[in-house]
Each structure stands twice: as C-alpha cells, then as structure tokens.
C-alpha cells in the first residue's frame, strides 16, 4: 500500500494542533508538558516526511536533534514541576497566584 506523503504531513499538522490546543486549554502542568512533547513529535514526523519527499538525509538528522532537545526538556521540566509540587502539593496552574499576570 502506498500512502501519499501529504497524509503524513496532515497527521503531523493535526498532532501539532492537538498539542497546541491542549497546551492552551488544559490546566494541569503535567498534561501541558505532555502537549509540548506531542508538538515536538509532530515536528519529527514532518521532518521525516519532507526528508523522504526531498530524498535528503538532513531532515532525518534534524529529528535526532529535536529528540535530544525533547529529552533535555523533560529532565528540566519535571524538575521544575517537582519543585512546585513540593511547595503546594498540586500541579494545577490555576492555584498559582503569587504572580498576577
């Protein structure tokens, strides 16, 4: 079966949209965090698809950079979430009221 490349791009765009929507609407820091990861994976899918259509290996190489960055973000992000959680035993961003935006 031959799936056209455009479909992969559409899936990538949808995943990115789901991630962005979730980030803007959900109120739990952990879920928001997962949404960022989802967006980054949508980027990876897009890079790989273009790499295939362009017959250019650079796009696949970029995916590794994005993956490494995503892993680094996890360590730092979870550390910050834990630091906040220790203080108030909740990760809901609605309860954060020290700063008034």
């Amino acid at each position: 079966m031959n799936v056209p490349a455009a479909w992969y791009l559409v899936v990538g765009a949808l995943l990115f949209g789901v991630g962005a929507y979730g980030l803007l609407t959900r109120r739990s820091a952990l879920i928001m965090f997962m949404c960022i990861e989802l967006m980054l994976n949508a980027v990876n899918l897009t890079f790989v698809t273009f790499s295939r259509t362009l017959s250019d290996v650079a796009g696949q190489a970029s995916v590794f950079f994005v993956m490494v960055v995503a892993a680094a973000e996890v360590t730092v992000g979870l550390g910050i979430v834990v630091a906040v959680f220790r203080r108030r035993a909740s990760t809901s961003i609605d309860e954060m009221s020290e700063l008034h935006g």
Binding site: M39, V66, L99
Partner: protein, 491 residues
C-alpha cells in the same frame, strides 16, 4: 563509503568552548572538593572565562578583517563581524551579571557553583544562536539558552514566586520552541534545506508557485522569536517571569536573551528570508506598533519596579525590532548598537534593584524607592542616569540607540512606524521621569535604613553608568564597530 568530516574552524568556536569548558571545570571541581566550594573562586572562574572570551573576540575581529568572513562545520556556523560583536556583548553581559550574582548569593546564603555553571551554559547557548547559520542549530542554541534560564529562574528556593515563574516560563518557552522548530520543518519542506544560506540561494533562484508552506513556516519562526524577545502579543510571560525570577537572573535574562534572539532573528529574516521581505515586513510592522505602545502604556500603572522594568523592556524590544524591520545595513547596525548598549545598562539597573531589594529579595515596590537619592545620593543618581538612558534622554547612550534605529526606519520608508515608536517613547518618558522624581522626593519614613552596596555590585553599577554617559557623549567608536558588524549574507 567514505565519511566526510567537515573542516572545523577552531578560532570561531573558541568562545563557546571556553564557556562550556569553564562550566565543566566548575562542576567537576565542586564535585571533587570536600568542603564547600568558595564562592569567590567560582565567580573568579566565570569572570576569567568572560575576559578570555573578550580577548578571543579581539583576535577574531582582526582575523576576519584580514581573511574575510567565512562559514564553518559544513556551513552550520557562520564566522563574521556580526557574530563576533554579538559574542563579545554576551561575554561582557556574563561578566557583569556574574558579579551581581556573586553579591546576591552571599547575601541570600546560596552555596555552590550551580548558578555559574548554568549561566555559563546558557551564555554559550546564546553564542551558538549568534553564530548559527542553520535553523536547526538556532533551535539548539535557543534550547541551550532556555533550559539554563528555566533552572536559573527557579533558583530562589525561599520564594514560591520563583518556582512558579519558572514553571510558567518553561511551559510558554517550550511552546514557543515547538512552534519555532515546526516552522523550521515547514521551511525545510518548502526550500529543501534548513541552512540559512541555502534557503536564501534557493529562494533567489526559484519562484514558488505555491508559497503557502514557506509563508506558514516563516510565520511560525517569527512567532517563536516574538515569544523569546517578548513582543506583543506574545509577551504575557515576561512580566511574571521578570517579577518571579531572582533579581540578578532577571538582569541576566533581559540582556543575554535579547542579544542571542535578535542576532538569530536578523540572520533568519534578512539572510534567509530576505527575498520575501515584502511578505514579512507588514506583519513585523504591526508587531512593532503593538509592542512599542502596549509596553509603554501598561508600564504606567505598575506598582512593582521589576514589572515596570519588564514592560519597559517590552517597549525597548519594539525599538530593537524597528532596526530589523528597516532591513538595511543601517538597521542591522542600529539594532546591534541598541542591543550592545542596552545590555550593560539593564544589568546595572537590575544590580541596583538587587541591592535595594534587601535580604529575601522582597522590597521591589516603587514606594520603597521614595527618597532613595536623599538617603544615598550616589546610588539614587546612578539609578536616575540608567533610567534616563533607557528613556533615551539626550547625552545618554539610549538617545543614540533610539536615533539610529529611527533613522534606519525612516530610510526604509517607515515614517508612520517611526512616529508610533516616538509616541511610545514619549509615553515611556512619563513613567521613567515620574519614577526618577520619586527617587528625589521626601520620604515619609526617613528612618528607612540605608542599604549596603557590596563591592562587586559597585563595579557593575559604575560600568553601566559609564557606558550610559561615556557612549552617550562619544558614541563614535561603538557605532563604528556596529556598522562594521555586517552579516556575511545580505540580500
């Protein structure tokens, strides 16, 4: 199959190596030492590394003057006067903010070398951004810079606001990075490369029949940058993060993020997408008008000095974008001059805020500053001069910075935009002057204690004031450097 190893220009990479090397040395040394690591030794290492980078940039400058600008590591990094000047500004900012942080760490009893390690790594990230010639490399530099900053913002364990600000910054910063790299992926799809010069070459040779993909990618890249430089409407994080972060970190952020982000933004918009100027300039126009006006207007009602300075820095970002919008050599030089002079001035301002904030880093209400110049004439006068420079008063360096970008915008036919920016500067003048007058008012509580200004902070404040006044009276040399700091690839 043979593996082609790209040639590496080590002189171009030396500043990044020095900062990472210093960070590693500090980390290993503190792990090996049995007792608590002396804060003086940690700060000295950072200062030494920064001075070493400044010396290296002088050598680089003369190298480029003799051999010309070039790219290295298979065109992933670029080695031109522009990247060298940006690197020098980053190193100088690192030096100054390390001194502020030193006094702050002693006062707040923060032990360990963590602050310096993170700050050095973040600065190295900013340098990567300044040198990057590839969208993915810019993304890497952006993340190195941001990941260090997320942790630095959360550094103050005694205040809940610090970790909350870090979480907010992390979530929005991660969002912005994801948007940026998705933009990079779309541009890659449209042009077949993530390399800045290849993109420029492709767009110069071909006319895209369906440019939708490129436009979408370019717009996402622009949004990612707008988040990082806190341009309206992507500025919402900045007042909260400025307020919540430990004050020395705020000064560090305000300077280094701007240098790195503007260097990369100029590279992307002018070098890579220079041929698409007619498409992105109207968008940037709206962004600048909103950024200048909203930054100035909302600052009027702030009661907290750190929030006030956050909105002031949003307003300044609008002016810096003005040079980018001009999209000519003058504009690039103007933005570079603006960023280079804004960095020491804003670090010195936050050095004073750190000192006045007192133990616990708490006293930041504007009320607390009433009569500061009567209690401590030197400190008050220094703060007044630094504010006047940010306002752009004549005889301070801020005046020439604003003048340079406004003239560049007029050259590029942006009369209306320059007028809007001037209007915002007039509004901003009101709150800067009102605050400066507050410093000289009679205080209700005259017994308010004088704050001690530690020695390293005195040095930083003095440097900030000297930059503001000296380059204000005599802007020639720095302006010449900024004019020389042209990009390797200009349309």
């Amino acid at each position: 199959m043979t593996l082609h190893v790209p040639s590496i220009h080590y002189l171009a990479l030396l500043p990044i190596f020095i900062f990472f090397g210093a960070a590693l040395v500090l980390m290993v040394a503190s792990a090996l030492s049995a007792k608590n690591f002396s804060p003086r030794l940690a700060t000295s290492t950072t200062v030494l590394a920064s001075v070493a980078v400044l010396v290296v940039t002088i050598a680089q400058w003369s190298y480029v003057a003799h051999h010309g600008a070039t790219t290295t590591i298979a065109h992933a990094l670029v080695f031109d006067d522009f990247s060298i000047l940006a690197t020098a500004v980053i190193a100088a900012s690192m030096l100054l903010s390390a001194l502020v942080a030193h006094d702050w760490a002693i006062r707040e009893r923060v032990v360990g070398v963590d602050y310096h390690v993170l700050a050095l790594a973040a600065s190295a990230g900013a340098m990567v951004m300044a040198q990057a010639n590839d969208l993915v490399v810019i993304f890497l530099g952006l993340e190195m810079l941001s990941l260090g900053l997320y942790v630095l913002v959360a550094f103050d364990r005694h205040r809940a606001a610090s970790s909350e600000a870090a979480l907010k910054y992390f979530l929005l910063g991660g969002f912005a990075s994801a948007i940026f790299v998705y933009g990079a992926a779309l541009v890659y799809g449209a042009t077949g490369s993530t390399n800045v010069s290849s993109i420029a070459y492709f767009l110069g040779q071909n006319i895209l029949l369906r440019p939708g993909l490129l436009y979408a990618g370019g717009a996402l890249l622009l949004i990612g940058f707008a988040f990082k430089v806190a341009a309206v409407p992507f500025h919402a994080w900045s007042p909260d993060v400025y307020q919540g972060a430990p004050t020395p970190v705020t000064g560090f952020m305000a300077s280094i993020v701007k240098v790195g982000a503007f260097a990369a933004l100029i590279r992307v918009l002018l070098s890579a997408l220079g041929t698409q100027m007619d498409t992105w300039r109207p968008i940037l126009w709206a962004l600048i008008a909103l950024t200048c006006l909203l930054g100035a207007v909302v600052a009027l009602v702030q009661r907290d000095l750190k929030r006030l300075l956050a909105y002031s820095s949003i307003n300044q970002a609008g002016f810096m974008l003005l040079g980018v919008w001009s999209a000519n050599v003058r504009g690039v030089a103007g933005t570079m001059f603006y960023v280079a002079t804004y960095a020491p001035v804003v670090i010195a301002t936050f050095a004073i805020v750190t000192v006045v904030g007192g133990v616990g880093d708490e006293h930041h209400s504007i009320e607390h500053y009433r009569g500061l110049a009567r209690r401590q004439p030197w400190l008050g006068a220094a703060l007044a001069v630094l504010l006047l420079s940010q306002l752009g008063a004549p005889l301070t360096v801020g005046f020439y910075a604003k003048y340079a970008v406004l003239v560049a915008a007029l050259d590029a036919g942006g009369g209306a935009l320059a007028l809007i920016a001037l209007l915002s500067a007039a509004i901003a003048a009101y709150f800067y002057l009102r605050f400066a007058l507050t410093l000289y008012e009679e205080s209700d509580h005259d017994d308010a204690s004088r704050v001690a200004v530690p020695r390293a902070s005195v040095v930083v404040i003095a440097v900030g004031v000297i930059v503001a006044v000296l380059f204000g009276l005599w802007p020639g040399p720095l302006a010449t450097w900024a004019q020389h700091a042209t990009l390797l690839f200009l349309p």
